[in-house]
């Protein structure tokens, strides 16, 4: 018995050009991709600055590390001011009827004037904005309050930043507003 498997020639169409093209790109693309990676590794390994990274890190869309440090539970949202607002809980609840971002902030008026804290707009990692309205009452000096708020997020998105507004009640009846942007660290998603 002839041991030939004439699978690809017996239907009359040799398809020689097709096979040539397939072999060409089938081997060509991997060689180009892997070769490019090898050159990149060598460049970084031999001519890099020794940190293991190269210019791509700084120019790429990954470099958004400037600004205030991200906060997590236990951190003070107003670390830079005289008041204290501790983030005591921040969780995204992935419920079937929608995603909700729930947070609790313990506010203490450690300043020398009456104070009020308002939670504003949350911006998600994907850039959606959700407005908020929660605010403390007017807190006298030394008073504290717990502020809870819930934001309905688009499905699958998690909070990136939130604006908060502090209101100082100045002597004589005026208000002075200070706006802060808080950056969240990793907020856990729970079901």
């Amino acid at each position: 018995m002839a041991d030939s498997d004439t699978d690809n020639t017996d239907d009359g169409v040799p398809r020689r050009w097709l096979i040539r093209a397939l072999v060409g790109i089938g081997f060509g693309i991997p060689v180009v991709i892997e070769g490019g990676t090898l050159v990149g590794l060598l460049k970084s390994g031999l001519f890099g600055d020794g940190d293991g990274d190269d210019a791509a890190t700084i120019t790429g869309p990954t470099a958004t590390t400037s600004g205030p440090p991200p906060v997590g539970t236990g951190d003070d949202l107003l670390a830079a001011s005289a008041r204290s607002a501790t983030l005591s809980d921040a969780t995204v609840h992935a419920a079937t009827d929608g995603w909700r971002f729930a947070l609790t902030v313990a506010v203490e008026n450690t300043g020398d004037r009456p104070y009020e804290l308002r939670l504003g707009t949350v911006t998600t990692q994907n850039g959606s904005r959700v407005d908020g309205t929660a605010a403390t009452d007017r807190l006298g000096v030394g008073e504290s309050a717990t502020l809870s708020a819930t934001y309905a997020l688009p499905d699958g998105e998690t909070p990136a930043t939130m604006t908060i507004v502090g209101v100082d009640y100045v002597d004589g009846g005026g208000e002075r507003l200070t706006r802060h942007t808080v950056r969240f660290g990793n907020v856990p998603v729970k079901r």
Binding site: L18, I19, L22, G26, I33, E34, L41, G60, G156, R191
Partner: protein, 565 residues
Amino acid sequence: MTFIDKFPTEAKLVRWHFGVGFVALAIGGLFGLVQALYRTGHLRSLLPINAAQYYTVLTGHGVLLALVFTTFLICGFFVWAVTRSLDRPLSHPRLVWTGFISMVVGTTLAAITILNGFAPELPFGSANVLYTFYPPLQAHPAFYVGAALLIVGSWIVGADYFLTYRAWRADNPDKRIPLQTFMVLATFVMWYLSSAGVAVEVVAFLIPWSMGWISQVDPLLTRTLFWYFGHPVVYFWLLPAYLAWYTILPKLAGGKLFSDPLARVVFVLFVLLSTPVGFHHQYTDPGIAEGFKFIAMTNTFMLLLPSLLTAFTVVASLEHGARQRGGSGYIGWLRALPWGKPSFSAMALAGLVFAAGGFSGMINAGMNINYLIHNTIWVPGHFHLTVGTAFALTMMGVAYWLVPQITGKRLQHRTLAAIQPFVWVIGMTLMSNAMHRGGLAGLPRRTAKPLFRGEGAAPFDPVVGTISEMQLQIAIGGTLLFVSLALFLAVMVGTWLSRPGMGRLSVNGSIPSALSGPADSPRILDNLKVWTAIAVVLVIIAYGLPLYGMLADGVLAPGSPGFPV
């Protein structure tokens, strides 16, 4: 005479195993595409899942592909290999059907619990525990029962390989075991030895725990039992691919296997060394003495030897084939290989990709350098080259050659079939290359987040490229892979549904004997009892003391209650 005409019962068994395996491949592949797009943030809003369901998809992908697709394909392929090489029907086909049904029932149970993540109205509860089902993540008991039935089913199927061999031996007391049967039996010796670990994990711990009969399990002990099985399982996937590369590929290339004895040596080495290496998956686990991790590392590097031997033998056989076909020159002979034949190109490309996977595996295996890539997306980058291509693409090549022989139908859509392996390799190059680079930058695996907008990217430090560029490359690669998979399935469905007798069956199932035959090797190679005994001793050396340490402080302690997911 075609296989189906000579062994109709066995052909039917192979068909059913392949059929179920391909359904798992189709669903698992679709999940793969969804993951690749979702986690990279491309077309995310078009996908019908949310971030929590990502883990449902990921569990389905891992279970259906790494556990279900592989096991069905292997069990079916080995039915063919044993029957063909012993040239006699199975001794107890009903036993094989029993095993098959056990595997189908197990798969169905597990699949229902996984799909519960999308449709909570399905029976049982959910099982978003990923295919490694590490405690304390806890699935519904039906998931664990399903996993156990899948494994036990494969044991039952395997039993008939041994029974059929015994019947053959009674008729042929002095002959050498035919090579394919030898490979099947060696693979299953290793499989019985190693899957016992996961069976103990599931039956003794996870089922009672998920039923509430025991309140806690020791996560370290159960992980250790899992990885006791978890490394050998990769050779359970790989050795069938080796069987195809050693015995079918040279013939497709127009030649013969270079050396039968070398092939036997390779399989014996795998029997010995596959199991006492599981700790190389646990380098970062506390509670295991460094020394045992070190032993696992040295054993792992010794395992390179049989793979390098395989590379040598298979390439030598291909060169022999190419020269038979008129090829010449130092590398010019490569052009004489039948690249247009999908069965050949799929297996040959799978072998080449496996070589690349071997290199990234060496990084994984190094105890110190492993910390660089542990739990990063480098790891999926690695195993899509091995199980995801070396196994999966080889089995597609096997299917192009074998499905006509087990259905009696001519392969349809040959042009699509000729294109398919190349599309797979291009897609895999893109996806895996970016995954490896992402892993070097610290990008984690198993996460639904794209992690490149906002501060998510701050900790990442790409060496080559940028995170968003890698994410795009993963998405494109994953899409090409899915296209390739669809081509494969179209060819299979088209062939299966075509009318029998459409044109002459152009495939020839005979396999020529090796250039250097079994008579050139010592008989001890065939004595699987000896090799099994040595393998058991090596396992005791590698695992005895550490397991004793984990058990001595209480079998269930230090323990954790379950976290149902």
